[in-house]
Symmetry: C2
Subunit: 215 residues, 2 copies
DNA sequence: AAATGTGAAGTTGTTCACAGCT
DNA sequence: AGCTGTGAACAACTTCACATTT
């Protein structure tokens, strides 16, 4: 069943970067709201987010018209529309696979919970509980991964396994119903079209910096 | 002193994405080398890196001509040229500022050392040593930051402080000689032109995924 | 014959300029 | 008058096609 092309803008037509910037706008708006600011112009919000104002306006109009000419945007309304769009209105369950150094590190990181994501369980070939008070999630054996994902309707997974295992683990997860990966393994994952992979590689990020810093 | 524009390709003319892909190519080449493969075609290497072959060739020719027509690229030579270029031939000192959850997590992560970076020290307003066996770096008080950076000629910093403090800390670091930041704080840093900032926000990365996964 | 290097074409994303609301 | 929404111009990046070299 090939998708029909239409003139209407659909998910696929929206630049990935636009979606990314939405998250940034959302954080800036949150700050404004905390300071009791009710309305903001594209100029001001763009400044806070580090982009130019036409960029911001174009980004928003991919999704509709939210501003009032001569006035600006309603802060609260914009926040609502962005979180609806990103799916962060409700807490989302996430599993983490691979409890090595990085995996443990991410499990103890409290930054996800604040943004609407809940790492509900971790999995590793060695299902030993982490003896760290800051890690509260249960660590299960790999053999339980599929069943857990299916039963809890988990759609997103954080992959921190060694590169050799990444492809196999992701295959299992996809079969169990996962459609989004945050992949920390330095591997190019082969996945079906409907599955999204966000590769994150901290070492590459540093290397990149190193180039611009010079030596 | 405005920079003179020239026809020759200089650092600024090279797409950021190209530099980023260089790191990916490097990792693929490393694997080839480990498997005893001496020569590789753009087609094969591009496949492994998840890009198209003209992309790879164009990326490389920004820096010179490294291939042999009819044959391909010499694996070892390419690795050498990329690491020279990225500045990862020699171990580089990095400081980490802000030893909260994420900071601690990154300190215990061994992935940087393998790629040529050495987190030599950490700094925090509360200079308490981390009682975690996996964290081996000393944690100093913020007041010692400037002197340490100057004396050890540190050029790169990993910022994990709360957003309110990020700007001030980065000002200090820039004055002390840091020209590259890996910024984990959800803030748009204002820095001089010659300073590079790589923003990394794991929560945004997850939010982004959430959008594509749907709900 | 095989595979690189590259100008030109194509695609995607950004910025501008201004028409059109409020 | 002020500020959004948007088509058109612009810039950046990617892909193609093929001439060139080994």
């Amino acid at each position: 069943m090939p998708a029909k092309k239409s003139a209407k803008i659909e998910k696929a037509d929206i630049p990935r970067k636009t979606v990314y910037r939405l998250s940034i706008y959302s954080r800036c708006l949150q700050r404004l709201l905390e300071n009791g600011i009710k309305t903001v112009s594209s100029e001001a919000l763009a400044g806070a987010a580090g982009v130019k104002s036409p960029q911001l306006r174009k980004d928003l109009t991919y999704f509709g018209q939210f501003g009032t000419r001569g006035l600006g945007y309603d802060v609260e309304q914009l926040i609502k529309m962005i979180s609806d769009l990103l799916g962060t209105t409700h807490l989302q369950p996430v599993v983490l696979v691979g409890v090595g150094n990085l995996g443990r590190a991410l499990l103890s990181y409290r930054g996800f919970a604040k943004e609407g994501f809940d790492i509900v369980a971790a999995f590793d070939v060695r299902a030993v509980q982490v003896e760290d008070m800051r890690v509260t999630q249960p660590v299960y054996s790999m053999t339980e991964l599929r069943q857990f994902v299916e039963q809890n309707l988990v759609r997103m997974a954080i992959l921190c396994v060694p590169p050799e295992e990444a492809q196999e683990v992701s295959n299992d997860l996809v079969e169990a119903g996962v459609t989004g990966f945050m992949n920390f393994a330095p591997t190019v994952l082969q996945v079906p079209d409907e599955v999204t992979v966000n590769n994150v590689n901290l070492a590459i990020e540093l290397e990149n910096l190193s180039y611009f810093v010079g030596h």
